[in-house]
């Protein structure tokens, strides 16, 4: 656990105590709010907590600053277990989550923990999956790639930034399954430390295809180094990625959204839950947040409250189905 005491915080807290609150009006009064990032500083969860916390402070939704606590370990499992057991009734706590959280819940990587132990607050954006090849590759479309894999699975190595059974791996499997490939286990997936490294290997010619997130591919797309075969989004993405077709357009009905959002302790009061749902919604709608999204390559995904809960539930069950098929879980 990393606690950072910044000299400014105590001052800010003191000032905030005097300041008027301008959050959504509910019966719940937030004080000394905290966001747990279930990983070390610098990662995506840490980013989610810090950016949203800062925006909430700027919009004066919460009094003072939001304390960010890094509670790393077990791929988020340590934080999940801690919140489920010791902090289950904390009204001032939210925890950063993403598709990785859902994936690990689905594959039982948080032993003894399930999604209904938490209240799911809302999403703040998504990073849609892409499948790409090097610019000089003979493969031009997603069905072509899958046809090659069907003919000889050994000839195509797909690189991604997550571990075997992780989100990058699952995305390519979700798409392959939608294309009717039955022997998903034969697809060769090579895990690297992050999407950037995987794309570099694509360029070096060590592997033939890449599966990852749009934000990871952005720099290489801008430089013209890689060709995006398909975006795993319901519609074409705004901005630079608009020129690339979705998988759906090519007859493969697959969506892979790496969402970012929050969960809250399961014993949180209804008033507090409503406050957080409304606050996250307000952050999402703000121009400040729009700017953060474009800077960081986040695409729109606006779900909150029960809607978000249903979304997480569905993605967990989808992941479970596919993980069972490739034998990751029994």
């Amino acid at each position: 656990m990393l606690h950072l005491r910044t000299p400014g915080r105590s001052l800010a807290l003191a000032l905030a105590a005097l300041a008027l609150m301008a959050g959504p009006s509910t019966a719940f009064e937030p004080s000394q709010t905290e966001c747990i990032a279930p990983a070390a500083p610098g990662g995506g969860w840490d980013f989610t907590c810090r950016q949203v916390g800062k925006t909430m402070q700027d919009l004066k939704i919460i009094p003072g600053t939001m304390q960010v606590t890094n509670l790393a370990g077990g791929g988020g499992g340590v934080a999940y277990a801690e919140v489920a057991s010791k902090r289950k009734a904390d009204n001032n706590l939210i925890v950063a989550a993403s598709s990785a959280t859902a994936t690990r819940l689905a594959t039982g990587a948080f032993p003894g923990n399930t999604m209904d132990q938490m209240r799911w607050v809302g999403s703040i954006g998504a990073d849609y999956g892409v499948i790409a090849v090097a610019k000089n590759s003979p493969i031009k479309t997603l069905p072509e790639l899958f046809a090659k894999i069907k003919a000889d699975p050994k000839s195509i190595s797909v690189a991604g930034g997550s571990a075997v059974g992780g989100w990058d791996h699952l995305k390519v499997l979700i798409a392959a399954k939608a294309d009717g490939i039955s022997n998903l286990r034969a697809i060769k997936y090579v895990p690297f430390d992050g999407g950037g490294e995987a794309i570099t290997q694509l360029l070096a010619g060590s592997v033939q295809a890449f599966t990852g997130d749009a934000s990871e591919a952005k720099g290489f797309v801008d430089a013209g180094d890689i060709r995006v075969l398909a975006v795993l989004a319901p519609d074409r993405l705004p901005g630079d990625f608009g020129k690339f077709p979705t998988a759906k357009e090519q007859g493969i009905d697959a969506i892979g959204a790496n969402w970012r959002g929050f969960y809250a302790p399961g014993g949180m009061s209804d008033d507090a839950y409503k406050f957080w749902v409304a606050s996250v919604k307000q952050v999402y709608a703000s121009p400040e947040w729009k700017k953060v999204m474009t800077q960081n390559g986040l695409a729109p995904l606006d779900l909150d409250g029960p809607q978000f809960e249903a979304f997480v539930k569905k993605s967990i069950s989808d992941i479970q189905t596919i993980s069972k098929e490739i034998g990751l879980i029994k």
Binding site: L4, R5, V164, R185, G327, L328
Partner: protein, 143 residues
């Protein structure tokens, strides 16, 4: 006592390592080498190098006399105790005691050592906690 002991311990360690590696649970989906392959290679390397050291040892080092060795064991014990009691005793008290002990054992007279302990604990607390804001262990007294 020297390289022959090192080589023998290394061989034993290699055997234990390979045995533990063989017990790693294979997951259902895996790459050609799997989670056991590289540990096996390391175990082999450890065994080979231990054998080489065992067969061609260097002259043994000068080990400390038994009294000095006991001194080192005591130092380790103090460090372990420090680690265990730090969260309960608080940073300043634990650190003052531990550093006074080390200072004393490194040859400072008892009075000087006690002063050094207090100075080191206070100095670190001042610089790292008060000036730089690093979180140190809080004891019952809050420091």
């Amino acid at each position: 006592m020297g390289d022959r002991a090192l080589g023998s311990v290394g061989l034993g360690l290699a055997a234990a390592y390979v045995w533990q590696a063989s017990r790693i649970q294979e997951s259902f989906i895996s790459d050609p080498i799997g989670p056991k392959g590289f540990p096996f290679i390391i175990g082999g390397l450890l065994a080979l190098t231990s054998l080489a050291v065992l067969l061609r040892p260097d002259p043994p080092p000068h080990w400390p006399r038994p009294a000095r060795l006991l001194e080192l064991v005591a130092a380790v014990a103090v460090m372990v105790a420090y680690a265990l009691f730090l969260p309960d005793a608080g940073f300043v008290i634990a650190t003052a005691i531990a550093s006074a002990y080390f200072s004393w054992r490194l040859g400072a007279p008892a009075m000087q050592a006690a002063l050094a302990g207090v100075a080191i604990a206070g100095g670190i607390y001042l610089v790292f906690h008060l000036a730089l804001g690093l979180n140190l262990a809080k004891g019952p007294l809050g420091f």
